[in-house]
Point group: C2
């Protein structure tokens, strides 16, 4: 009889649920795009989130007796040990016991962690860093996040505080970040930062085909549009990605100098433009690292937007395996 | 019958040897100041280094049968697994098998590691971070170095590359560092950087009692002199340490955001001026950390210049304990 795991990737604007076979095959996933409903209170948001799993279960006609557990990727900060979302403004959650609630509703073990950590775990268990003991995962997307796997396990740090690579200061007196600090990495390298900079530049008269492509509607310029301009050889768009490579080079060098991972995996939407920033990024790493990493120590995720789901599967599947072992011993 | 460990702190200009009781009491240490003799070749430098242990043994009249092993702190980069110094320009060593040589000469097990890692280990085993599982040690001295203990053990990273906190970029286009990069932390916060900046400022007409105190001989201004000026309320000297606190705040925040250690321990000569930089440093940490560390997560080393010796003792004593266990099991 086949057994399954459920996995969930809870995001600020959409939530995805997925079904995994016991041995880690993604059977299928279902995405639910949620309009922001935080004003309706944490309970409504929770019910809407939970519905994603209901849909997955319904769609595949799974008998819940065949489900071994549920892994969840959640926006944070979190208390992963207790399964609590400490604060997720976009969900309207504050100290919300997501694990306990799902556990009660589905009567299955539930484990939660954040996107960055699950990314690192997924890559180390079944991605481009398989079998490596020490792995850093960095996602460059709307924001920049990260996670660490050390000695084969997620490294959380005190109060689940590790992996906040987006708030590494790379310009101590630079751009102001909503976090209260200045010069955070994500103020320069995230998709949001790129879009903002490009819109400002074009508005200020920067020459680029993006002015025509956006039909003079600067606010509609986004990552896909900038990437298209780069692919057509627009010198400005290409320069934007070279700058992206520069900032990635600085941030990744800091990670290598401090932590020297066997593999550093880059993921997130912005990495779709890797062919435009990779060279500049590697130049920075070459210049700034005390122990120059080899080319093969820097990899790009191939799981793309599924990486958190895979990580959530690995998280709960690990937990169940450990439980089994403990029970066998007892 | 009492058993002992020998420990050694090999530095660029001086080497210290020490005798530890089996349970970690520092019996006494002996420092040998070596004039640079690299021109005489690696063998002469090795013999002079080895002599420090000969002196310790002779001085205490120890029977070598009572010595369990030798722990060594060495300048690097190192291959700690094989006990090789990959490159130490000040010693004239290149791929020098220090562990094997000492092992042969003293017929005892030898373990080596670098200052930063041994600092972290010493603080975690018998210093201000006792019992904490995840500890970062940062030394602010001639240069800036660091080390990590994760899950109670030294974390080396790939190719022993972890802990290079001195080369964390905090100003990507800032001061040029001999390492080839720009804006490295140690170009701003090390004792060398402070002295250089102060000398330049005074030479350029900066008002300070240091001009009188140095008897107009700017080149003789050093850390002790600057600290003395600060203690007498010299506004310029005080501003220098506030700036030191600012850079420490940036660097330590990056460490907390990335790694979230339970305790971060600061050591090295520059920390003698802590009362002049601590407030500014904590302000930076407060502003820049996503998870604000508590006051008690930031500690100052009390082992001072003995920290590497203690770390070297812990290193070899751990190794011997592990060997014993393995043998008992076999």
């Amino acid at each position: 009889m086949s057994k399954y795991f459920l996995a969930m990737d809870i995001g600020g604007t959409k939530t995805t649920g997925a079904l995994f076979s016991e041995d880690g095959k993604l059977v299928d996933d279902y995405t639910y795009v949620r309009k922001s409903q935080t004003f309706k209170g944490e309970e409504v948001v929770y019910q809407n989130t939970k519905k994603v799993l209901d849909k997955v279960i319904e769609h595949f006609g799974i008998d819940m007796n065949d489900v071994l557990g549920i892994g969840v990727g959640s926006p944070g900060p979190l208390n992963t040990e207790q399964g609590i979302v400490i604060h997720a403004p976009l969900m309207g959650w504050k100290n919300f016991p997501i694990a306990k609630r799902l556990q009660k509703d589905f009567e299955k073990p539930v484990k939660i962690d954040n996107d960055g950590n699950l990314g690192a775990l997924a890559e180390q268990r079944c991605g481009v860093a398989v079998g490596k003991q020490n792995v850093m995962y960095i996602t460059v997307s709307t924001g920049c996040g990260g996670g660490l796997v050390i000695n084969g396990e997620i490294y959380h740090g005190k109060n689940d505080g590790a992996g906040e690579v987006g708030h590494m200061s790379i310009q101590p007196e630079g751009k102001e970040c909503p976090c209260g600090a200045k010069g955070c990495f994500e103020m320069y390298a995230s998709g949001t930062a790129i879009n903002k900079k490009v819109r400002e530049d074009i508005r200020n008269g920067q020459k680029s085909m993006l002015w025509e492509e956006s039909e003079h509607n600067v606010e509609c310029i986004d990552g896909a549009m900038i990437m298209r301009a780069a692919s057509k050889g627009d010198p400005y768009a290409l320069a934007v990605y070279r700058e992206e490579g520069y900032y990635l080079g600085v941030a990744l060098s800091n990670v290598f100098n401090l932590f020297s991972p066997e593999v550093l995996v880059l993921g997130g939407g912005v990495t779709k433009a890797k062919k435009y920033f990779h060279e500049e990024m590697m130049k920075g790493i070459e210049e700034r690292c005390i122990q120059k990493p080899r080319e093969e120590q820097i990899r790009y995720s191939v799981m793309n937007d599924k990486v958190v789901l895979y990580g959530a599967y690995c998280l709960i599947s690990d937990f169940i395996k450990r439980e089994k072992k403990t029970n066998q011993r007892a």
